[in-house]
Symmetry: C2
Subunit: 213 residues, 2 copies
Amino acid sequence: MDEQELIRAITTEVLRRLGGGAAPAAKIPVGVSARHCHLCPEHVTALFGPGQELTPRAPLYQPGQFAAEQTVTLVGPRGILERVRVLGPTRPRSQVEVALTDAIRLGVRPSISDGSDLTGTAPIVLVGPAGVVHLHEGLILAWRHIHLSPREAEYWGVKHHDVVRVELPGPRGLTLNNVLVRVSPDFIAQMHIDTDEANAAGITCDLEVEIAR
Amino acid sequence: MDEQELIRAITTEVLRRLGGGAAPAAKIPVGVSARHCHLCPEHVTALFGPGQELTPRAPLYQPGQFAAEQTVTLVGPRGILERVRVLGPTRPRSQVEVALTDAIRLGVRPSISDGSDLTGTAPIVLVGPAGVVHLHEGLILAWRHIHLSPREAEYWGVKHHDVVRVELPGPRGLTLNNVLVRVSPDFIAQMHIDTDEANAAGITCDLEVEIAR
């Protein structure tokens, strides 16, 4: 997170706590999610050793979320991906999010998911310094989505689980036609796309977008 | 190339030679270009040895073009990409086309180009079994484009160097807003996108599209 993002994150968090939800902004910042995993407490122990906990390395834009110092190696039937960042805090179920380009390197074919139901999603092997976890399901391609607070959702005229369109500008400009809206008091406005989507559009890191009306 | 594609390629080529340009089809097939390079004759010699020529391995969809048996390793300041396919026949200037995800692995930042002018494009090192070529310019991200014969261009109501929109369907559906039209009697209708674009849209290999009116 650079200084600009940090200032924005702190400002928005202060406003959120004062006002019960971030004040709606005229534009929605874009966050590019590189491949990463969320781990349950049992898997943190299995991968990093007894008594080990996730160590925050940098706060993420969404309040309370962080990139951990820990990384894992993903092992698929056709290839591996090293130094895959673990995000915190821990979750009830482990979940690994990759781009389709990553999946092809691994030799797996995950489906698109919003992470709410991991049943039947693809398997993957995670290797850490203290052990191995064979995840029988939980590897997904994240459904491109927009986080909004309830106030922001009201401002944009959308509700939880709406599917909207968002235009990405530039020489490789494209319009994302199926963007999932996710609304929660814990969120602040941000669109999450993966590295394939960001690279296909050739977007720069300070991009802000609008929901197409 | 699978059987279906082969039948289509042969049929279209026969029609093209009989009629001076492919008969317009109601849909345009999509070809996904993985990273690849085009080489000049001097670089074929430098990389594969004196007297060596590109050996066709499989015909491509565009008439006369082929994937060669030969591959090279691309070496950038931050990483390498092995087994990068060489396409034939040779060209007057060598040119390497990668997706932005590939470029990030290599540690280079190529610009978007239609390949017509390589002046000022990014450098890259190619390594073959017989030698090394330091390409001072020629590494590009290909501008997404549609090949059309003159008859097909007329059918679609577009001309050489027009920029059009194309919608890709599906759960990761998106609209490509800046697609370059390239018209030549040597072409048959096909849209070329790179692996980032294909993976961002999650498209399947038998996709056919239309130019948005």
